[in-house]
Amino acid sequence: MFKILKKEYLANNIWLMDIEAPRVAKSCKPGQFVIVKMDEKGERIPLTVCDYDATKGTVTIVFQIVGASTKRMAEYEPGQSFMDFVGPLGCASELTEMPEEELKKESILFVCGGVGTAPVYPQAKWMKEHGIDVDVIIGARTKDIIILEKEMEKVAANLYIATDDGSYGFKGNGCDQINELVKNQGKKYTRVVAIGPMVMMKFVSLLTKELGIPAIVSMNPIMVDGTGMCGACRLQVGDEIKFACVDGPEFDGHLVDFDQAMRRQGMYKTEEGRAMLRLEEGDTHSGGCGNCN
C-alpha cells in the first residue's frame, strides 16, 4: 500500500498529491512517469511525476479529473493509501542524459500546457540544479487555471505566462508566445520541449519545424501495463512504430503522427463517458443518451 501524505487542489480540477513510495522516489529521473491503481477493481492510470524526494521517500503526482477513475482518485484523502503505485516508468528526459558539456551549449525553452506544467517542473528544476538556465512558457486559457507558477518561477531563468484571453501575462497561446520570443524579441533557442495536451504539442511541433528548432514532446497515450507488454501505447514516429512506455514517453515532435495519436487516445472516450454517467447519475441513468447499448 502506498500512503497519501499530502493533497492539494491546484486549479481547474487539477490535484497534487505526495505519495510515500521509497523505491520509486529513489530511482526517479525527470521525464519518467508512474502508474497508479487505486484499489482492487481500479484501472492502471499512468500519471505524471511532478517531483520526488529520495530522502523522504516521496513522489509528487499531479492529475486532472478527466473521467470516472480520476474523479474517484481525487476523493482520496491524506492518510489513505493507493493499493498499487509502480515506477519510475519510461526513459529519463533525453536532455538530462546528455553529457554536461554538450548540455551547456543548449539554449532550452520549455512550453507547458495545462496539467503538462507538472512534468516540466522536475526537468526545469534539474536544469537549475545543474547550473543551466532555461526559459519556460506556461500557456493557459485564462489566469485562474494556471498551476505551479510560483514553483516554476524559482527554477526558470525567465518565466513567460500566456493566456488566451489576456487575463494574465501575454495575450495569446503558447505558439503565439514562442513567435513573440523568437521572431519579435530575437531570442535564440536550440531546443524546445513541449508538454501538454496533444493538440498543443502538435501545434508547437509544427511551429518549431517552421522555425527550424528541434522539438521534444512527451506523449501520454492509453496504456495498460506500462512495461512494454501490451502495445496499447504505440505511436507512429517517422516510419517506425514506438511504444511510449518503453521507448518514450519523450519523442521528436517533428516525427510524431499527432493526428493518429489523438484518434487513438479517443478510443475509450465513450466507455469513459458511460462510466462517468454511471458515477454521476447512479442507477437513475436510464439511457437515451445515444451512448448506451
Binding site: 523505491r23 520509486v24 529513489k26 530511482s27 519518467q32 491503481k37 477493481k41 481500479g42 484501472e43 492502471r44 470516472a68 477513475s69 493499493m83 498499487d84 503505485f85 509502480v86 515506477g87 519510475p88 516508468l89 495498460v224 501495463d225 512495461t227 512494454g228 507488454m229 501490451c230 502495445g231 496499447a232 504505440r234 505511436l235 507512429q236 512504430i241 511504444f243 518503453v246 493518429q260 484518434r263 487513438r264 479517443g266 478510443m267 475509450y268 466507455e271 469513459e272 462510466a275
Partner: protein, 462 residues
C-alpha cells in the same frame, strides 16, 4: 467403475453452447471414482518413458499409483517434490506431446490421461487444505527472483525448499505473470487455481514484492550490491508484442493479443464491477495460430463477438494445442486458414472497418521444416470486421538487458543462458523461461526455473 483399458476415462466438460457465453472453466476434471479408474490403466512401467517426456521429470508412475490406491495426499506430495504448480500444469501443459506422447499404454490404445490426473491430485489437495512441506533448515543465503510467472515461481519454490531466503520481484500489481495476465479464466481459473498455487509457493517462505520494475526501480547490480542478494534469477517473460507492419495497423480496434487478454484476464474487463474497459468488438479477426491466438479468440467469443482466426498456413501447421483448436471450433470460432492480412481499413474516425486478406498456398519447406506459405496472386478479399487482434508472438523486453552490464544477449535479443543450469555471462546471475527462449510454454519455463534453482544451489554451495 467399468474400465476398457484401451480407452481413457472421458473427462466432463461444459457444453460448447453453454460455455461460449461464460468465463467458467471449460474442463470440469475427474471426480474421485473417475480418477482412480483412469489411474488403474497405468502399466507402472519399470522404465517409465513418461517421466522422460516431462520437462520437470515428475515421478509419474509413483503419483498415479497413489491415486489408484486412493492416497490422494500422498500423490500430491510426490508431485510436489518436482513441481510447485501442479494445478496449473495439469491444465495447460501440452501433455499430448510430452509425457502422454511417451506413454506405453498409448502404443495400442489411449495414453493414460496424466494431465487430468495431475490436475485431480492438485485440486483435491487444495480442497483438503494440503500444503507443500517447508524446508527444515535455513541456508542463510538469499536469492532475488525477477518475475512471478511459471519460471520464477518454480525457481523460487525449489530454492525455498532447499532453505534459501527468496524474494520475487513482480512488475505488475499481481503475481502470476502469464498465468494471471495471459491465460484466460475459462482455461485456468484465477482465484481458485492460480492464486492458491501462488499461496503454496508463499507458504514455503517465499516473499513476493509486487509493483517493482527491475531495470527501472532497481537494477540487477543493485540487487546483488546494496540489497545484499547472493544470486539473481531472471524470469521476466516474453516481452513486447509483435505487429505485422501492414497499413492501418494503428487504427482504433487493432490490439495485440497481450493487450486484449491483459484487459480481460488481469484487469477483469469482462466483469462490469471493474473499471478497466475493453473494446470487445462485434466481428473480430484474430491473426495467428498459436495458443495465445486461441485464447484471444475464445475470449472475444465470450465477450459476444463473431470470431475468425486468420492464419497463413494450413490446419496441420497450427502451433496451438490440438485440444485448444478443438475447443475453439466446438464453440463456433471460424478458421480462415491459408489466409494472410495485407491491409486494415479504417473509417473517418479511425476505427477498423474491414481487413483485406490474401489467400495463400503452401510452398517448399523453410528452415523450420514447415512448408512456407506463398501468396496466390489476385486472391485478395475483404473480411468484414470491426476489431483485429494481432497474435504474432513477442520480441524480448529490453528493460533488464539494457540496464545490466555484462549480461550477454543473442541476435534475437534474448538473454543467453546455459540450458543445464541457467547460468548467464554474468556471475551470480541466472535466467530462464521466455526471456531466454522467446515465447514458449508454461512447462518449458518451469523446467528452466527448476534447472536454474539447481544451478544457483550449486553456485551458492561452493
Amino acid at each position: 467403475m467399468e474400465t476398457d483399458v484401451l480407452k481413457r476415462v472421458p473427462v466432463r466438460e461444459q457444453e460448447p453452447k453453454v460455455r461460449a457465453a461464460n468465463f467458467e472453466e471449460v474442463c470440469l476434471g475427474y471426480n474421485k471414482e473417475e480418477a482412480m479408474a483412469e489411474a488403474s490403466r497405468c502399466l507402472k512401467c519399470k522404465n517409465p518413458q513418461c517421466v522422460k517426456g516431462c520437462p520437470v521429470n515428475i515421478d509419474i508412475p509413483a503419483f498415479i499409483k497413489e491415486v489408484e490406491e486412493g492416497s490422494f495426499d500422498e500423490a500430491f506430495h510426490v508431485i510436489n517434490k518436482y513441481s510447485a504448480l501442479p494445478a496449473v500444469c495439469g491444465r495447460v501443459c501440452p501433455q499430448e506431446s510430452q509425457c502422454e506422447a511417451k506413454c506405453i499404454r498409448g502404443i495400442k490404445g489411449d495414453a493414460v490421461s496424466i494431465g487430468k490426473l495431475e490436475r485431480f491430485v492438485a485440486d483435491t489437495a487444495r480442497e483438503n487444505g494440503i500444503k507443500p512441506v517447508k524446508a527444515e533448515t535455513k541456508k542463510g543465503k538469499s536469492v532475488a527472483v525477477i518475475g512471478s510467472g511459471p519460471a520464477g515461481l518454480t525457481c523460487a519454490g525449489d530454492l525455498a525448499k532447499l532453505g534459501y531466503d527468496v524474494t520475487i520481484f513482480e512488475a505488475l500489481h499481481k503475481a502470476g505473470g502469464v498465468l494471471s495476465y495471459g491465460i484466460p479464466e475459462f482455461r485456468l481459473p484465477k482465484s481458485t487455481v492460480v492464486d492458491s498455487e501462488i499461496e503454496n509457493v508463499k507458504s514455503l517462505g517465499v516473499k513476493i514484492e509486487t509493483n517493482v520494475v527491475i531495470g527501472k526501480a532497481v537494477t540487477i547490480d543493485e540487487l546483488l550490491g546494496e540489497e545484499g542478494f547472493d544470486a539473481v534469477f531472471i524470469g521476466s517473460g516474453a516481452g513486447l508484442p509483435r505487429f505485422m507492419g501492414i497499413p492501418g495497423e494503428n487504427a482504433n480496434g487493432v490490439f495485440s493479443a497481450n493487450e486484449y487478454l491483459t484487459r480481460s484476464n488481469l484487469m477483469k474487463a469482462f466483469d462490469d464491477s471493474y473499471d478497466t474497459p475493453v473494446c470487445a468488438g462485434k466481428k473480430v479477426a484474430v491473426v495467428g495460430g498459436g495458443n495465445v491466438a486461441m485464447d484471444a479468440a475464445r475470449t472475444a467469443l465470450r465477450l459476444g463477438a463473431d470470431v475468425h482466426i486468420v492464419y497463413r498456413r494450413s490446419e496441420a501447421e497450427l502451433p496451438a494445442r490440438v485440444e485448444e483448436v478443438h475447443h475453439a471450433k466446438e464453440e463456433g470460432i471460424i478458421f480462415d486458414l491459408l489466409t494472410n492480412p495485407v491491409e486494415i481499413f479504417e473509417d473517418e474516425q479511425g476505427n477498423v472497418k474491414g481487413m483485406k486478406c490474401i489467400r495463400m498456398e503452401l510452398g517448399e519447406p523453410d528452415s523450420s521444416g514447415r512448408r512456407s506459405p506463398v501468396e496466390i496472386p489476385g486472391s485478395e478479399f475483404v473480411l468484414d470486421v470491426d476489431t483485429v487482434i494481432m497474435s504474432l508472438g513477442t520480441s524480448p523486453n529490453p528493460l533488464i538487458s539494457s540496464t545490466t552490464e555484462g549480461l550477454e544477449i543473442n541476435r534475437r535479443k534474448c538473454i543467453v543462458a546455459e540450458e543445464s543450469d541457467g547460468s548467464t555471462s554474468k556471475a551470480a546471475v541466472y535466467a530462464g523461461g521466455d526471456a531466454v527462449t522467446g515465447a514458449a510454454t508454461v512447462i518449458l519455463a518451469m523446467g528452466a526455473g527448476k534447472a536454474a534453482a539447481k544451478g544457483i544451489d550449486e553456485f551458492l554451495s561452493k
